[in-house]
């Protein structure tokens, strides 16, 4: 379902400073799988996630999702692809701190201009699923780290995406909240979602429902 073919990604920091984040890697993930990408900071895990989410383009190689070359998509089509297929959970949540929980969660729906009923029904589903109904109107910056992450997950799932991508999802959580997050992943996997998690948190490495653990080091698969 998701295929990375001969991917090389080089970041041009400036004329004399180029960083090779990924070096000719090949990966294949099937539908409904949960894949854990492990590796230290700067190993290239997050770059793989960015490429799968069409947030950036590879310097060389191709990213194919459902037989579509998403690495070749023009910018606006890449956005539409993300809107319809991807739920991205960022390490630092990337919420808009001055908006309420409800406003943050509904943000991905705004361009589609849905009617109020559709908004409310989708909103209520995720609010209840992640147990944040009582915080619906709270401004996000006033929430705890765990609550903010639940808002970020709710936002990622509001469009019911096929692919869920999580970048260091437990980096800012304590152990209990991390275990809660893992539980949530288990639920999502049972709904046949394809999940790719980049982490260096050992909690993820021996989970019984993880299909693959792939180690990345210096832009190469080990």
């Amino acid at each position: 379902m998701i295929e990375l073919k001969n991917i090389t990604k080089i970041y041009d920091l400036n004329i004399n400073n180029k960083v090779t984040a990924l070096n000719d890697i090949n990966l294949k993930f099937n539908e409904g799988e949960l894949i854990v990408l492990k590796g230290s900071s700067g190993s290239g895990k997050s770059t793989i996630l960015s490429l799968v989410a069409a947030l950036s383009k590879p310097t060389m190689g191709e990213v194919i999702v459902d037989n579509k070359r998403i690495s070749k998509l023009p910018d606006n089509f890449a956005s539409l692809y993300r809107r319809e297929n991807i739920g991205f959970i960022f390490q630092k949540y990337n919420l808009i701190p001055t908006l309420s929980v409800k406003e943050n969660i509904l943000l991905p729906l705004v361009p589609n201009n849905p009617n109020e009923d559709e908004c409310n029904s989708k909103l209520n589903i995720v609010l209840e699923q992640f147990n944040i109904s009582n915080k619906k109107d709270t401004i996000v910056k006033n929430l705890s780290g765990g609550e903010q992450q639940r808002v970020a997950i709710s936002r990622a799932l509001i469009n019911n995406p096929k692919i869920i991508i999580a970048d260091e999802p437990t980096a800012n959580l304590d152990e209990k909240l991390s275990l809660d997050f893992i539980d949530m992943l288990r639920q999502l996997k049972s709904q046949n979602k394809t999940i790719v998690v980049a982490t260096h948190d050992p909690l993820f490495f021996n989970l019984d429902f993880v299909d693959k653990v792939i180690e990345i080091k210096n832009g190469n698969i080990i």
Partner: protein, 390 residues
Amino acid sequence: MLKINLHLIEYAINSLLRSKTKSIFITTIFTLLVFLLTSIFFISNSIKYELNSTVDSLPQIIVQNIKGGKSYDIKTNIVDDIINIPGVSDAIPRVWGYYFFENAGVNFSLVGINSYETQYKNSFNELIENYDLEEDSMIVGSGVKKLLEQNYYKNYFNFIKPDGDFKKLNIGGTFNGDTQLESNDLIIMSIENAREIFDMSKSKATDISVKVDNPIEIPMISSKIKSMYPNTRVITNSDLKVSYQNIFDYKSGIFLALFAICLFTFFIIIYDKSSGLSSEEKKEIGILKAIGWTVDDVLKEKFVEGAIVSIFAYLLGVIFAFIFVYILQAPILRNIFEGYSILRTTFELPFVLDLQTLSLVFFLSVPVYIAATIIPSWRTATLDADEVIR
């Protein structure tokens, strides 16, 4: 069918409210600039309108007696010769002049008229029909009346004649002239009284007003008069228009300078705004892109933000300018135009609706501001979302 995206508008409004201080600051500056620009245009349009009305109500040709370039009283016996020029319908000797009212520090225009003759101005004919101009009375413009009352002359006024004696005239009536400028400094009295105040003999007049049936013939008739009486100065109403226009244009220069300062300030703000976004603003655009907003969606949202601020500030600025100019009569700014020809009593700025002016200010401000909002956002939105968020 095009459906308005209310969610996008709501998001744009929320976005403005989130940066409340910045939004209020920009709206205030924007409003102030629109207010200044519009006020300048409103004032200059009103005064231009007043001047044009004044000039239009002046005689078609005026003949003055000139000695060494200076104007003196003219002999009235040349009137018959002028009337005999083909194309001339009437020639009326005028007795008028300025009277300096020291207490108020202003000049009044005194005009002597003969009630039994046709006047050189239609408004004077109407005045004679409506008011009885008795031997010891005068009719004053509403502005003059106000000024005299302020100086305790409620029913009469004592003019000081050149020999030092007083000439007492009762106020027989008050009128509103063709224009505000006129009604505010004009006093009409019998021609005999005017001659007495100016110490002018019966065989003389201040000048001669000439009426021409066909306005196209004005230049030709004026040159004929000039050739018949080489010691006269013949002034046509188009000459007067040019002279008034020159004075107005000089004053407009000051307004132009103000206008330039306003525009300059506006463009500095625009330059500052268009030169970049804060890191928070950039990150927000990155987040929106990452969750599936297209570049078009981001630009639409920024367009709505810019439009809300600029249209709101524009309307506010125009309303304030309207109140300032037409209700408060433009305190401070109007002083620039006072004394545009001679010392004048006060006059009211007439309301002149000029859609061209409003459109000009709109197109100078609103689209420029919207563009300045969109361009930096477009720059950020077209980068890789990944690069912006990091």
